[in-house]
Amino acid sequence: MITDSMFRNVSVQPENYSRKDDFSLPDSKRTYTHQFNTIYTQRVKQLKSRIFKMATAKWKDETINDIKTTYVSKILDVKNLTPCYIIGTVFADYKYKTNVLKEVSTNMYGVPESASSLKAKKDAQEEIKDIDVLRSSAYSDPSSDKLMIEDESGRILLDGELLDSTVLVTGVMVGLLGMEVEPGVFTIVDIVYPEAGEQVERTIEEKQNDKVLFLSGLKFTYGENVDNVSVAQLLKEYLMGELSFSDEDIKLLKSITNIIILGNSTDVSLASSTNVKEKDKYREQNKSVFDADSMRQFDEFLSQLLKTIPVTILPGDSDPAETSLPKQPLHKSLFMKSSQFTNFQRASNPCWLDIDESRLLCTSGENIDDIYKYMVPNLAVELGDSTELESSIQNEVLYKSRLKLLEGTMKWQHILPTAPDTLWCYPFENDDPFALKETPHVYAVGNQPKFETSCLKLDRKNGEEVAVRIIAVPEFCKTHEGVLLDMESLECSVMKIGL
């Protein structure tokens, strides 16, 4: 049994590091006076030159049909049947994207309609599968989807087989090689991404096999889902060594130096407006969805862990935090007990962490979930008998793996491309904080359906490569799994709580 922190390994965590405040909102007054075009403009500023570097390196001697390709700096200047390469921002014109115009013209307050095709299924008493729920808010309709690329000068439609195997969503900046075959349609044959940001040097010394534990989606709730709480309790007991008897177990537990909780620790949105008091019927419009009891319970759970392990917590979509990204740290007072501990860290989402001289970039998953919606046909689209989709990438994402989506955000050097188009974020004026200026060593995304990992190599212009460990951290309440990352080898493994 581990009862004393002395026994635990301790990681190296500097108090201050260069990217610590990358995702803090301005302290001064928030103005909201800027339109969203400023973010895109900032994105161009940060990424265009990096794409250009990679594009010229790769294509400057390229020929198509024996004609040498040239760089066309304005999409508008693309000439018919002339091979060239262009750089711009992708825009996805997809049928089932949220359409506020429809919402407000049929509805007086702009409350979004619930997923209607799902309701239809429910009414018909058809079986609703997990994938149906995911598809019910998806944007795509493969038969009418249009991908375009634009810059300040204009837009051009994209075509080409390459699109079937490439993840591209609104807001991604890329360089494309191809040619305008039909008027207004650019057929692409190759693609480049921005040069990867530099990686901080890692001096590998003896790390005694230190490990970081990633958790996400604990979803503490009061009432119906007490299960979530009891599994979490079990996890805590295990981590505290209360259930372990073998030396091996103890050794492993001792090596865990940090716990990072990637959002959705509570599920306060479940307690939504059902308990409206009769006398208030005509009064309040925004109901508090706050459930103090589950919050208290979670605080208790954390404070137990904190006795021996440092914990970092990110706010997620179901936590009491703002919806817009970057989400700011959860309010201190929500953690009466935990806040007493100095090894408790409330982080923003996304956030950069610096542990054992490695840079970790974490999000709680809404970025990937939104990209997923671009890759999957909406529930209203009949998939037909052969459920196989034409596009190989859609197939893979829908049925097999989300890794390509996580890898995509690294390749694009942008972790939140779909904001502000379909994901909500603050209208930044002088910066697009989500465009990467540095490549992390580890990129962890929470609340994913299953554990997946890969080691992605990204190119830099002089032939260098940088490697990123990519981790999809599963939702704990559904899988009872967390992910252990070895800080020396950057390999990872699953930790599962069996019931």
Partner: protein, 848 residues
């Protein structure tokens, strides 16, 4: 035309050998081929068989942009035309084959469009004229081109002294000129129009077309395209246009893209509404030239047919001077409605083409009208030789002399039957459109014959006919009612006594009593057939539909679900209910629509009541979005006399800032706010000004002057007077929190004390909650968060939508489309979210 049987939009053959071709250099027109032929040698083809097809007309749609001065609606004498966008397409094709923009000064390229830039405006106009002559369109369309774009171009050319500009018709020597024309018609009211002669090219102004054919809340291109195409359209205010023009080739490109959109929209609208097809068929059926259809009323169509028929029959029509006698005759009856909410199916029995059938059945015509002397002279016998109408007029029986009008009508109706039959058999979608257009045209024509005889300021009024027609109609409706009541009664072995709850000109609504739709449909069929036997051929009663449920509010005011098969209702049908009135705000429209949906579709009256109460409570507590409350009216010259809300406001805005104030021709948007005065026209205010200064909305005005009447009208038949009134003043209206004007005199003296966010108890500076409320901190913080989140999401969604709407992520949104529900919402949201962010910040510092 009539003498040669040539119809508008029909096909002609010039037989070989009968004509001679005029050589190119002697042509007076710019046509491809010019011939001379004796008009008697032309063969006209009736529009049948292969002559049913439409000519491959070349359609040009265009739009101009002018650079106005600040605060003044563009005037041709001063303000230059800076861009003209053109889209040309062949009738029936889905994609235009020419798209281009003529610009003054350079303009960056646009994918898929040609750009022609000129340094000099006059040069651009000249080149545009050349373009028109070269592309040689058969039809010119656009939005408000008749009253704005065309006259503006012509006047501008005069102002610039471009003498060779106004020659773009097909006649080389004909100069295009602007004439004023007043168009007045009983059916369409009076309109002043400008007319530009463009020989050889038809003009179709979509604005005029839509104003004639559809009743809408607003006729701006924005509103119209959102109505018919389901799209919002970015709108650039004319004051910004000048700014864009004076920028660089990129900003001018932006303008050009916008202008192209505006040029393309009319083409898409025309296609969607099939105006060309329908008007073509109307021209062919009635024989009048295409242009008359927009510029003249119904009468001309009847006259044209009358003349044609008389020619066949060798009858001469007297050219009567219209005397303008204003005799009144009794119109159609309506059976007094039994107002109420019917939760059982109501069958509707309709007379098919009632007035035309009456005229045919009783042989009513100018040529069959008898007077006393004639009857005596010829010893005619009543009922054997002539018919005595209920108004005491006598018409000879068809055996003795068949009237012209009945003959025309019979032809029209049988042609319509044929067209409908062909329509069913036809598979080609384009021909289907043509046939459908034709049957509609035939129907409208048949119905307008009656109106023609009754038009007292018309060409050939004959009240003996029209009053006889209506009197027969009345009689028949009454008789139908009696027959149905008598047959479907308990006395006759039915379980219920049927009831006729309402009847208008040509229909009777019957409640049989059964609650099953299928039974009622069967009975309806049966009753229709039975009653038809009691009338003279070709009068026929038809059963068409069942309403269930049915809300009968008053004469010509009802709503119900419309069923033609027992499985699924076809649609919701409403009449005379305030959803389209122009001076209503959007709130009224939305509330009424929702209420009707709840009552009729969900059959949930309680739910509807709840909804209304909730909405009223929201309204009174300022939770309804401002865009719901905006009222818009166009500022036109006549308005200056009376004191009207929008005129007064325009005046006030001009004093505030002449540059941005609405000018003549602009549409003024306003909301009613609380002010010291009590005259409504003093209380109008610019919605943006209201948002910026947080002025209090006069919610009472909206409740009493906008919502109250339509709501009472709907709910009274259902709930009774007392309970309906309760909706408007029940307990839910008592939670009013008065938002005081911020700039009030007293406010200056009130010191702002820090109060508890929850209970409003006074607390120390820097705190957020009082001691008692501290324990609820978490919940209260959660509530502020929830508010923040809903605003953040709204803010993001709204501004991204605009970004999408304007078709670029990188450009700033400039749109000021006041018809778009998003426009005010996004401003309001911006303000709210900033405020809420500050509220939330106060919590950052506190601990609990």
């Amino acid at each position: 035309m009539i003498d040669c049987k040539i119809t508008g939009m029909g096909w002609l053959t010039a037989p070989a050998g009968k004509y001679s071709v005029i050589s190119k250099y002697r042509q007076v027109s710019t046509c491809q081929l010019e011939i001379t032929i004796d008009y008697k040698d032309l063969t006209s083809h009736p529009s049948e068989g292969k002559y049913l097809s439409m000519a491959p007309l070349r359609i040009l749609s265009f739009d101009i942009e002018c650079a106005g001065r600040k605060g003044i609606f563009p005037e041709a004498e001063h303000d230059p035309v800076i861009q003209i966008a053109n889209v040309v397409s062949k009738a029936g094709d889905s994609v235009p084959f020419v798209r281009n923009v003529f610009t003054v000064k350079s303009c960056a390229p646009i994918v898929g469009s040609e750009i022609f830039s000129y340094e000099d405006e006059g040069e651009m106009l000249r080149k545009w004229k050349d373009f028109i002559v070269q592309v040689d369109p058969d039809v010119i369309i656009g939005y408000n081109i008749a009253n704005f774009d065309l006259p503006y171009l012509l006047n501008r050319a005069v102002a610039l002294g471009v003498k060779d500009f106004p020659y773009f018709s097909r006649l080389k020597s004909s100069k295009q000129e602007i004439k004023d024309s007043v168009f007045s018609s009983r059916a369409y009211g009076t309109r002043e129009n400008k007319v530009v002669n463009i020989e050889g090219r038809m003009q179709l102004d979509l604005l005029q077309f839509i104003q004639r054919e559809y009743k809408l809340r607003s006729y701006t291109l924005n509103a119209v395209s959102s109505h018919f195409l389901g799209e919002q359209k970015e709108d650039v205010h004319h004051s910004i246009i000048t700014v864009l023009q004076n920028g660089d080739s990129q900003t001018r490109r932006r303008l050009a893209v916008y202008c192209l959109k505006d040029a393309y929209l009319p083409l898409r609208l025309a296609e969607k509404l099939m105006c060309l097809v329908n008007y073509t068929e109307m021209a062919r059926v009635t024989g009048v030239p295409f242009s008359f259809l927009l510029s003249r009323g119904q009468q001309i169509k009847v006259i044209s047919q009358l003349f044609r028929k008389c020619l066949d029959l060798n009858i001469v029509i007297p050219n009567l001077k219209s005397e303008g006698v204003n005799e009144e005759y009794e119109g159609a009856t309506v059976i007094e409605p039994k107002r109420g909410y019917y939760d059982v199916p109501i069958a509707t029995l309709d007379f098919a083409s009632l007035y035309p059938s009456i005229m045919m059945a009783h042989n009513l015509c100018y040529t069959t009208l008898l007077n006393k002397q004639t009857i005596e002279r010829l010893h005619l016998e009543k009922d054997k030789d002539y018919t005595l109408t209920p108004t005491g007029e006598c018409f000879v029986k068809p055996e003795l002399r068949k009237g012209i009008l009945p003959t025309i009508l019979a032809e029209l109706l049988s042609a319509r039957k044929q067209a409908k039959k062909d329509l069913k058999a036809e598979t080609d979608p384009f021909k289907k459109q043509v046939l459908n257009g034709r049957q509609l045209a035939l129907k409208i024509s048949a119905n307008s014959v009656y109106g023609f005889t009754g038009a007292t300021i018309g060409k050939l009024p004959c009240l003996a006919i029209s009053s006889s027609v209506t009197s027969f109609g009345r009689q028949m409706i009454e008789k139908t009612k009696q027959t149905v009541l008598e047959k479907y009664s308990i006395k006759n072995g039915f379980p219920f006594d049927s009831e006729v709850i309402y009847g208008d000109t040509d229909s009777v609504m019957v409640k049989f009593g059964y609650d099953n739709i299928e039974t009622c449909m069967k009975l309806g069929e049966e009753a229709a057939a039975f009653v038809s036997t009691k009338f003279q051929n070709p009068i026929k009663l038809e059963f068409e539909k069942v309403y269930f449920p049915y809300l009968l509010i008053n004469k010509k005011r009802y709503a119900g679900l419309f069923w033609t098969n027992p499985k699924k209702f076809d649609k919701m049908d409403t009449k005379g209910i305030e959803t389209v009135r122009r001076d209503n705000c959007r709130l009224v429209q939305n509330v009424i629509t929702k209420v009707l949906e709840l009552i009729l579709e969900d059959r949930d009256v309680t739910g509807a009541e709840e909804f209304v109460k909730k909405t009223i409570a929201d309204l009174l507590q300022n939770r309804v979005d401002l865009s719901q409350l905006v009222i818009t009216k166009a500022l036109s010259r006549q308005d200056y006399a009376g004191k009207q809300a929008h005129v007064e406001l325009a005046e006030r805005m001009r004093k505030r800032d002449a540059g941005s104030a609405p000018t003549l021709g602009d549409r003024v948007a306003y909301v009613i706010i609380k002010t010291a005065g009590d005259k409504n026209y003093e209380k109008s205010e610019d919605p943006l000004f209201v948002l910026e200064n947080s002025l209090p909305i006069d919610t009472k005005y909206y409740l009493e002057n906008q919502l109250a009447n339509p709501l009472i009208r709907i709910f009274e038949p259902i709930l009774g007077e007392r309970r309906a009134k309760e909706l408007l003043n029940g307990s839910h209206t008592r939670t009013v929190t008065v938002a005081a004007a911020k700039t009030g005199g007293l406010m200056k003296f009130a010191r702002k004390a820090n109060t508890c966010k929850n209970c409003k108890a006074t607390i120390k500076q820097g705190e957020t909650l009082c001691k008692n409320c501290k324990s609820q901190s978490g919940e209260l913080y959660g509530r502020e968060l929830a508010k923040m989140n809903s605003l953040e999401v709204k803010f993001s969604k709204l501004w991204t939508e605009c970004q999408r709407c304007q078709g670029s992520l990188h450009q700033e949104v400039l749109c000021s489309n006041k018809d778009c529900p998003i426009f005010y919402m996004r401003k309001k949201c911006q303000k709210d979210v900033v405020k809420q962010a500050e509220e939330l910040k106060k919590w950052d510092a506190t601990t609990w």
